[in-house]
């Protein structure tokens, strides 16, 4: 039962790591389970799973990029909803555009584009590194 659970947790590792070390991790479980106990080995493989996905796979970079985007977009969005009602954002034909609304929309758009750029740059760096590793 514990071996089945261990094998499932090994299987959940990123593909590159699993291909390189997966079978060895299973052999070590068979070797070490009597001396170290299944609980210690299961704890170790859970820590390894988190480490491989969160730190080594570069997923944290995507997380930071999304967080950075949110930090920029959310205040701009709050400003936009505070200062500009929908009627001001999309004025009726021929009606004068109020400066407040226009500024809010501009700030929002600039922040949104900047956040997306940051996210795309981080993501493309991550993808390029993965491709280089595979080569």
């Amino acid at each position: 039962m514990s071996f089945l659970l261990y094998r499932s947790l090994v299987y959940l590792h990123p593909a590159a790591f699993r291909r390189q070390f997966g079978s060895e991790l299973l052999v070590i479980f068979e070797d070490a389970v009597v001396a170290d106990g299944a609980a210690a080995l299961l704890f170790d493989v859970v820590v390894s799973l988190l480490r491989q996905w969160l730190l080594r796979s570069g997923l944290w970079k995507a997380g930071v990029a999304v967080l950075g985007a949110a930090v920029q977009v959310i205040p701009a969005l709050m400003m936009a909803t505070r200062h500009a009602r929908v009627s001001q954002i999309v004025p009726a034909r021929g009606a004068p555009i109020e400066a407040d609304g226009l500024v809010a929309i501009t700030v929002f758009m600039v922040c949104f584009v900047a956040a997306m750029l940051v996210a795309v740059v981080f993501w493309s760096i991550h993808v390029a590194r993965l491709a280089a590793k595979r080569r």
């Binding site: 390189q20 079978s23 060895e24 052999v27 070797d31 210690a40 170790d44 820590v47 390894s48 799973l49």
Partner: protein
């Protein structure tokens, strides 16, 4: 070459122990874990997750490489690892750095570096 070593120093405890475990002979993963346990008198315990995370980095940096199986009866799922020339040089550079640390410690604490009983409490 020294500059290459400098960018890796000081080594993490796990990397140092793995290099040290492979300095004597080629070993497989479980063999490395057991050797680390023996060398540290059980004080440093390396789990398989930490071991393979470090081995991956060490393979990428050319500190260790795959080695041949020792006998035909070995489990084919096992992989053996051995130190490269670079890994051996790096271990020597770290050992030399640690010698300097010990020398400094002796200069300040005296020749006997064993902690006195009750010092930790």
């Amino acid at each position: 070459m020294t500059e290459d070593f400098d960018s890796f120093l000081p080594l993490s405890a796990a990397t140092l122990h793995v290099l040290l475990a492979l300095a004597g002979e080629d070993r497989h993963g479980y063999g490395i874990m057991q050797e680390v346990k023996r060398q540290s008198e059980g004080k440093y315990k390396l789990g398989p997750g930490t071991l393979y995370d470090n081995l991956q980095k060490m393979l990428d940096h050319g500190m260790v490489e795959d080695a041949r199986h020792k006998s035909k009866n070995d489990d084919p799922r096992r992989r053996y690892y051995r130190l490269t020339r670079f890994g051996r040089g790096l271990l020597a550079a770290e050992a030399s750095r640690l010698e300097g640390v010990v020398r400094e410690a002796r200069a300040h604490l005296g020749p006997n570096l064993r902690p006195s009983p009750g010092a930790a409490s």
